[in-house]
Subunit: 310 residues, 4 copies
């Protein structure tokens, strides 16, 4: 079988996407995000033969937002003793079937979030991290920097402050969980860390590089440093597959066929285990809060390569 | 890499499962199903090198129940012109996050079922089939028989009658959808076909053989007859992955890491694209309505082989 | 204090209401009801001094629809031994906070309807009646005829048939309750009686006369025949107060301040205990399914008389 | 008709209630409330002939908790220009059909609380008060003191602090409403006032005296000072009738037949318009959070007097 020429495919996708009518709107509930140029598009692929393929604005940093939820989970697993035992009693692994910030299920289900990739779940994971770190913000930043071998990765204070000033629904979520006993630290301490983490600025290249270990059974590539075990890597990918896109997880699975995670900054990361990781960025979001062009780009990628996990 | 010896692994699993304490209860809401011997266990694997591996009661027929929902979807796609255009406007592909027969979401979402693998969704697919067949029961039976090259596959009239006499919740679901205009035939005609289809009796061997085309990009093996396209095969697997286990889809994905579908008869079918299909049968169900030992067996299978889609 | 001149007040209300812009739409989900002239308005008051006061189309019969739910409850109480013990274990007395035909609460609350004045509750009451009657339709009709001393009161077969042909949501409700064991007769038998009862044709005069016993501590006026006890009368009024207007019960209580019951035929009956009963009819319904002008007329009545139960 | 001897009836009720088996549990979610003696029982009636009737611990002050929600609404109406126009666009008057602190409906209904007597609604009313007062705590206290002509009425700082330290669910509610734009002041400022108001300590006698104006068409008795208009008084009573007891409003209406309001301190106030006001206190709560003996006492009161609004 002839090897796939990812660069040619990315360029086809780039052209195809750019031609399409502008779809969706840039997230505006965080004022800082509303300032981003909606025309930006970048894609970057890292494969397990050492290849890097990129198009467009793939070296421009953007706010990763919810994509960080995967990295928070990974950090908690690596950082906390008995992390998995602790985590999976306080967060489930089921798709929510509801928007990312819904309180309804959380109330019916006694303060146990459906999965670690909705806001409530990421707040519980943040609560676990905060308890086990002296300086959670700094330690977490170093962890991400080491994953992508790049110390330019940084927090965006303006975005973090913007969320602190307006994040009333996240305050509602965390207080509701606190009332059920599922938050152990003061809510302000957890929120402070969580908003900071969501403000992380990364490029498509950095994101693809960071997530490559999930395509490589939990080991960084090419260093082969063990971040998580093969079994943990499988589980993280499985949760991304069923829970990575809020109430559009099924649609992404159906159209793209890869585990992935989106953020309201317009980024999406996806992983083809054994093959590659990919990051896309295009700010305008569809009605479900996922990058409209980003989803289309990844659908084209698995269609054109003829490869998905299914 | 040494080839995997599936037979050895299956025997290890069989021993391990048998030693475990009896878990769960046999489905009793359909009186006929309550008569089954809860000690039965069977597993059968078909791989894409022509291998067949089996343990236990793998040649004993049981009631496939909800597993048939996948076959109904495939039959509709193959049978109805423009099937996919029709189907995906009347059924979504999102996980439901609720039990298999819940009416709540259906009411909130105006009679459009979350996916084709919950009861409501399978009833819409049945409605589409009934409309396009002269004799839906016979045509569907022949379709399944041809998929597994076995004309002994048959309906169980006692089970079908048992469901007709007690299936009040399915009547509630279909009438609710009818009130929203999403059922086009008389409800009794659709229910009659649906209950019949659910009563299908198949062995683990037959089920594994039947589903092998979904491991083979939509082509039967070894005949390489095209049942669905590669892209359709990917999509069907994707929906199984996110929606095949009601509100335990995430848990199955997390623990097993394969697309699959369960039935209240105690059967589970799973598919490893490019590798194999597998069917397990053990009647006692866990609280979410999935075979307790079946889920454990498949978790052991992907753990022992070290292979999953993730 | 000068006695209230109800006739003058009714004429003021009639003029005021007629001048108002046309509001709402005639119920169309039952095709027969859609044929009614939306301009019709009638009001009739019976007081406990023997007075009768009326304006407009108060002697024209219309489809009482859900108003019959109160009469079904009363009939069950009078007809069935230990009726109240039976009824209140199978139906609650809480406001539903949801539309009249919602399935959501019914599923969460295990098939026990919130109150006897939503469809689900009236179906359970009908189930109780059907069980205890040889010929429920005839017996119930005679009961209503005796309450209003008028044998012209009759069922409308066309309306009953119209509902039978289209009442899919009621079929959903009753099958859901049957699945929880809260319907004891065959669903078709109960639905047949229920649809017939809802088709009752009565005039404002007949309705006001029929409900006068609830203003008179359970005794007919002027005959003083005991229909229900004083305590039962209080309870029925209390349930009308909190549950008589679906998810607009609070609004009716707030604006009008009397216990009452509405129907999608455009009728509303209300009772001022110790004073009078009143029936209004105007077909166009507001968004919550209650007669728009009927609610306004009753608000004017309690405002102009300066009398309500509060 | 012989005048009712309320004192004799109260003594009968007192004896009957004391003989009954201990029911329910004292509220423990606010630690300070858990310290109260569960054996306390007091009842006080004020009628509109100047009569005062009392039994038991009717002169002992307790934490009024949610009973204050009625007084907050009245204070807002009297204090704020155009109060009713403002209030009823931001809070509805429908029964909630759910527990007092549920977030589910609030999310579905875009941050508009169902009524002013659930926590969310009282927080919106508090937000309106806070905006229009220099010193809301002091002004509100003086208002209540003037209503009951008693300057001993005071806040309980320990209770207020206890709620501030543990009121995570109220923080969840107010942040959720803030996210929908239905809270205009800083959440901490509103919560601070609300927790203080809930901590009000009053005796049965003071409560009955305070609420007597709602039995007297909005005028204090005997001074006949206008607090609210006759129409406003009717409306406030109507909302108490349908919304005063969380998801047990229908049950209270059914059994007691008077508008009333309960608090988790074990107090209940009820009003018979034109007749009397009554306050009961017994700390143990039933499963719905209302005083178990208090509800029984009031049921006996309307049964023994043979008088209710129905």
């Amino acid at each position: 079988m002839k090897p796939i020429d990812y660069q040619v495919i990315l360029e086809e996708i780039h052209q195809s996407i750019q031609r399409q009518a502008f779809a969706g709107e840039v997230a505006s509930y965080i004022p800082e995000l509303a300032k981003v140029n909606p025309q930006k598009i970048g894609i970057h692929i890292c494969d397990l033969q050492g290849g890097h393929y990129a198009v467009g604005d793939s070296n421009e940093a953007f706010s990763v937002q919810s994509i960080v939820k995967v990295l928070l989970l990974v950090f908690a697993i690596t950082k906390v003793d008995y992390a998995e035992e602790v985590i999976w009693t306080r967060v489930h692994v089921e798709p929510s079937g509801t928007p990312f910030n819904s309180l309804v299920q959380l109330e019916y289900e006694q303060g146990i979030p459906r999965n670690p990739f909705i806001n409530a779940g990421a707040l519980v994971v943040s609560d676990i991290i905060v308890r086990s770190c002296q300086d959670a913000k700094t330690e977490f930043l170093h962890f991400v920097q080491s994953l992508c071998s790049n110390t330019r990765v940084h927090y965006n204070e303006a975005v973090a402050q913007s969320e602190k000033a307006t994040g009333f629904r996240n305050r509602a979520l965390i207080n509701l969980m606190k009332s059920f006993g599922n938050i152990h630290n003061p809510v302000d301490k957890v929120l402070d860390f969580y908003f900071q983490a969501c403000s992380l600025m990364m490029t498509c290249r950095e994101l693809a590089q960071t997530f490559l270990f999930l395509a490589n059974q939990g080991h960084t590539y090419p260093e082969q440093q063990v971040i998580v075990t093969k079994s943990q890597s499988k589980r993280i990918n499985a949760v991304m597959q069923t829970c990575g896109f809020y109430d559009e997880a099924g649609e992404f699975s159906f159209r793209v066929g890869l585990p992935g995670k989106s953020g309201v900054g317009g980024g999406i990361v996806a992983v083809h285990p054994g093959q590659y990781s990919v990051a896309v960025w295009s700010p305008p979001l569809n009605k479900k809060g996922n990058s409209a062009k980003g989803m289309r780009a990844l659908e084209l990628l698995t269609t054109k390569t003829g490869l998905s996990i299914f």
